[in-house]
């Protein structure tokens, strides 16, 4: 990505102003979650499951190569994009496909069944049963961000304030200039995806919430929390001017909103066309086309010099 692209236009576009930047990035990330599901299905069926599972470690390594390229780049915008796509690829290949291999093939697990007679294959396939068990590891990893004085994530900063940690931790030793947004976006994408999966899986687990009133109550409460949380963040997102910052902020906003989609699908209120692209070829093609147009628009959108390798804005954070 050229460091000089559109730099003279920075801040002069009448289109790329709030709330357009925030709206576009939110739609992109929200739709992107669905399309990531579609991509997995297409890879699995295109290459065949055995081949996919066999080469998934190698495919995942391509995400690390992308990350390497991103970290070497001086452009914050390029770093953000590459970190996002690298994170998605590594998540799909090193987590989802690998768990799939472990659950479905290596360990020979069985899917969780539901329905009145217990004879309906639920959406909790072996890989998701494994993933549900990683909650403790996830929370442990999130402790690092909670107690790290250099974290700039608004949610962890909020925790630090509420826990009275800011005085103890002291001021951050890093400025925006010291940060590499490729690894930040990469880790953000990975952890946000993991967190949202864990959220849904815990709320779907009949061993924890049963399958009747408590199940409904917990999941409706989830819809409430996810809508309020992502809605609040959306109101902040639509105030963003920089596309790179907005992209990073939109990752959790889109993913938390997607928690609702998974719950509605669990309630049989949504037809998950994104995991059945052959039956909905036209619809999914239109959505994918729209996604590509949004990506192109954001790539071509005017950038501030700080986004494309020039001076970094102080305090620009994910």
């Amino acid at each position: 990505m050229s460091t000089s692209v559109n730099a003279p236009l920075a801040g002069k576009s009448k289109l790329w102003q709030p709330p357009i930047v925030g709206i576009v990035t939110f739609v992109l990330m929200f739709v992107g979650v669905g399309l990531a599901h579609t991509m997995m299905v297409l890879i699995e069926h295109g290459l065949g499951r055995d081949t996919t599972l066999a080469i998934s470690p190698l495919l995942g390594f391509s995400g690390i190569v992308m990350l390497w390229l991103g970290i070497r780049s001086k452009s914050e915008n390029f770093q953000t994009w590459i970190g996002f796509f690298g994170g998605i690829i590594v998540w799909m290949c090193w987590v989802e496909f690998f768990f799939m291999w472990y659950g479905r093939e290596n360990w020979g697990m069985l899917p969780r069944m539901d329905g009145p007679d217990g004879l309906r294959v639920s959406g909790t396939w072996p890989e998701y049963m494994i993933m549900g068990s990683t909650v403790g590891i996830l929370l442990m990893m999130l402790c690092f961000y909670t107690f790290d004085k250099d974290t700039r994530c608004n949610m962890f900063l909020w925790f630090q304030r509420r826990l009275g940690l800011q005085d103890s931790l002291g001021p951050s030793t890093k400025t925006a200039k010291d940060r590499n947004y490729a690894i930040i976006t990469f880790m953000e994408t990975f952890f946000v995806t993991w967190f949202c999966y864990a959220w849904n899986l815990l709320c779907f687990d009949p061993a924890l919430v049963g399958d009747d009133l408590l199940f409904k109550g917990i999941n409706l409460a989830s819809v409430f929390v996810a809508t309020i949380w992502s809605g609040y963040c959306f109101t902040r997102l639509i105030q963003f001017k920089r596309t790179s910052t907005a992209l990073r902020y939109a990752i959790p906003v889109g993913n938390v909103m997607w928690v609702n989609v998974e719950i509605l699908e669990k309630f049989d209120m949504v037809n998950a066309i994104w995991v059945d692209p052959w039956s909905y070829t036209l619809e999914m093609s239109v959505i994918f086309g729209a996604f590509l147009v949004l990506v192109a628009l954001l790539v071509l959108a005017p950038k501030k010099p700080s986004e494309v390798g020039g001076r970094r804005r102080q305090g620009a954070s994910a």
């Binding site: 479905r104 093939e105 069985l110 899917p111 969780r112 069944m113 004879l119 294959v121 909790t124 061993a207």
Partner: protein, 137 residues
């Protein structure tokens, strides 16, 4: 004295209906008793599920579903022929042809259920038994 024959028939029907309800309730209660603990994967009686369900399970859990029915089949063959699965397979392999290994044995279940979605899985087990030379199945 039964002056109204229709009345008598009504009583018989009522008794039959009550019996049927009781039987269904008992079956439902039994099914509830053997229902898996919440959170576990799989079904409590893999030999008694519709082939259509088995075929769906195989898609998302190929090895576990195959193994589950093979374990059920081993018990069934042992009960009907007195032979352990290992002995049944050894005898079948002695007859020549492609070896009966895990893939081939369980592949028969998958193929049978794909071709007979309305059947139940025990019929797939019986079909494999016949192919292995177990006449009694």
């Amino acid at each position: 004295m039964n002056r109204n024959p229709r009345r008598g028939t009504g009583r018989v029907r009522a008794v039959c209906a009550a019996g049927l309800l009781l039987a269904l309730a008992s079956a439902g209660a039994a099914a509830e008793l053997v229902r898996l603990p919440r959170g576990m994967g799989g079904v409590s009686d893999i030999g008694a599920i519709p082939c259509k369900v088995f075929s769906q399970m195989v898609v998302v859990a190929p090895q576990g579903t195959r193994l589950s029915l093979l374990t059920w089949a081993a018990g069934y063959y042992s009960a009907t022929s007195g032979k352990a699965l290992f002995d049944v397979v050894s005898a079948a392999n002695a007859g020549g042809g492609p070896p009966w290994d895990f893939e081939r044995l369980t592949g028969q279940f998958v193929a049978y259920c794909a071709a007979n979605p309305e059947a139940i899985t025990s019929e797939a087990v019986k079909d494999l038994g016949r192919q292995l030379g177990l006449e009694a199945t």
